[in-house]
Every structure is written in C-alpha cells, then in structure tokens.
Symmetry: C2
Subunit: 198 residues, 2 copies
Amino acid sequence: MDEERPDSGVWLAALASRYSVGPKHLAEPGPTPEELAQAASVSLRAPDHGGLRPFRFVHIAASQRAALGELFATGARERGLDGADVERARERAFNGPALLALIGCWQPGHPEVPLREQLLCAGAGLMNLLNALHLMGYGAKTLSGASVDDPAVSRAFCGESEQLLCWVVCGRPQRAAHPRYPAAPAAPLSDWSGPVLG
Amino acid sequence: MDEERPDSGVWLAALASRYSVGPKHLAEPGPTPEELAQAASVSLRAPDHGGLRPFRFVHIAASQRAALGELFATGARERGLDGADVERARERAFNGPALLALIGCWQPGHPEVPLREQLLCAGAGLMNLLNALHLMGYGAKTLSGASVDDPAVSRAFCGESEQLLCWVVCGRPQRAAHPRYPAAPAAPLSDWSGPVLG
C-alpha cells in the first residue's frame, strides 16, 4: 500500500460527507473545463455490464444559458404557465456556476443488458461525477422537474435512443453541506432470512 | 480545510482506480459485518429525490449459501438446463467471500419522482457501496444473469413493489484490478451546441 495513501476512515468520511448543495448556495467559480473532464472520466468507473457506456454528460456553457432559458420558457408556456411562472422556468437555465445535463444513451432490447441495468450504470456514473466534484471542493446538486421531460428540450440534447435524465448544478459551496432528510435510522442492509417456504 | 485531508488528486486517483474484480480473484476474508454496514451507509449519500430510499442491500450469510444454491439450481432446471449447467448455476451462490443482493424498493406512480429517478438513485447507491469497499481495500464485482429475474429467487428476496437488481460479490483481491474494456477514447462530456433549429 502506498504510504501516502490515507487510511480508509479518511476516505470513507470524505465520501460520507457529500450532500447536495442547491443552486442558491453555489457561487463562482465553477469547475474549470479540465476539472469537469476529470470528473466525467471518474464517472466511467461505474459498473458497466457489456461496456455499453450508456450515459454521457453535456455542459451548458455560459454563452448558451439564454438559449436554454428560452427553451425552458417556451416549454412552460406550452404547459399552460404564464407571467412569473414562465420567468421562473427561464431562470432555471441560469442555475449554478456550472450546469450539466446527464443523458442516458440506451440500447433497448440488448440481449444481455436490460434497460434497468443501463439506468443503474447511469446512476452510478452520476454518483462518481458528484463524488469527484465534491472531492475537488465543489458543491453540486441533481435537479429534475418538468424541463427534463419537455420534448423540445429533449430534442435539443438527445439523439436517437437517448433520454435526458437530470441536470447537475455545481459551484463553490457557500455553506456547509447538510442532510436534507432526517438521518436514516440504519444503513439499508439486512441479512437474508432464507427462501420463502411453501 | 482539514490539514490531514489529502489533496484532491489523491482522492480522485483512488476513485479512478476502482475496477470490478471477479469472484475467481477474490479471497477470504470478506468484509466484516461492521465494514458492510459502513459501506451500506455510504450508499445513502446517493442523490435521492424525495428521500424515498429506493434501494436496500441484503447480505447472504455463509450459512444461507446452500439454500440460495438450491434456488439457483431449481431455477436453472425450470429454464430447461440440466447436468453440469444446473450445478454451475448452484455454484454461483457460493461466489465470493461476501455476497450481497441489491434490491430496488420502488414507488410506482410517485407524483414527483419517476421510476427512472428511483433506478438512478439505486445505481448511485451501488456505486458508493463499491467505492466504500474499494477504499477499504476490498475487490468487488456486480453480477446479474438469469438468477436476477428468476421468480422464486425474487420471491425469496423481495417484498411488494420490490425488484432484485443484481448481486455484489466482494473479498480480498488476488490480483490488481484492471479495465475489462478498452480505454475510453475520451470522457463522456461535450459542450451543448444549442437548440435544434427549424
């Protein structure tokens, strides 16, 4: 074992201290292009049955935020919203110093890897992107909502057999990350009690 | 920042060095119950929209391996296999010094959290379990196959609205982990080129 490697308690505490930090609490600067590329490369360490690489990330540059906001606003109007609600939808495109989309790249009907495993892989890749950003000192949060299912937004991000899964906002955290939900009473682990009889 | 905290390059290299290690290359001892509980608790740092906790892990103790093997063998016979193939199916229940099942605990029709987000959360939780085991010095691999969809196996692990997603084997790695698939030509990250026109 490398002597410079910290003991596992330090590692585990670092992973265990990752919580979502919402866009209101994220400040400039966001990650550099090199840091984003490094975080995306760590995402590839997800378990990927068949090596399908069933996900990718798309970065929305500052110069494209207004175009995305226009898509969000149009979608909101098409869902029957107006006035301040449309502007709120538009503003979500400006969330966070950095904004990424997670795209699922599905192979439906794959003989060995059902879609649920492809989704698990995408979730695992997302986790490692978030872990990498956290370990670099950034806060981040996964966001979804109506924009993820908006057909015009999907067309603007996805090719054939692709699906927009969520957004990831990222930046310098302006407050300590903390749990949003009450502490779990116990880890989600139990011992198998054996086969069901009868 | 805590002075004992290593720089982010060391963290990222640790996460980036996680690869699956198959059961043939895993030796005793497996993780202790305390280590498994700690790894499962790190899994809870997955992004979990709505705090649904849509997954849990089940540990198959050494004393239950034979019972699981009998389920695997019965399922193989029901799929039309016989002889050595049935025995190979049975032997899979003895894979790895430690064996876990990942169970999805779905809330179908949730008003805010579609099933795909619940699957992403389960995949993210799996990633962090694997990361935690890796950082403790264990090797692990996610396995699936016909047993995951076997009705009798599912009944033995799942309650209502639950789904057996995969197995995780774990133990002391007997060789250096290495990529199974060719190195990715680039990280799965691109810049958004803007809305589709016309």
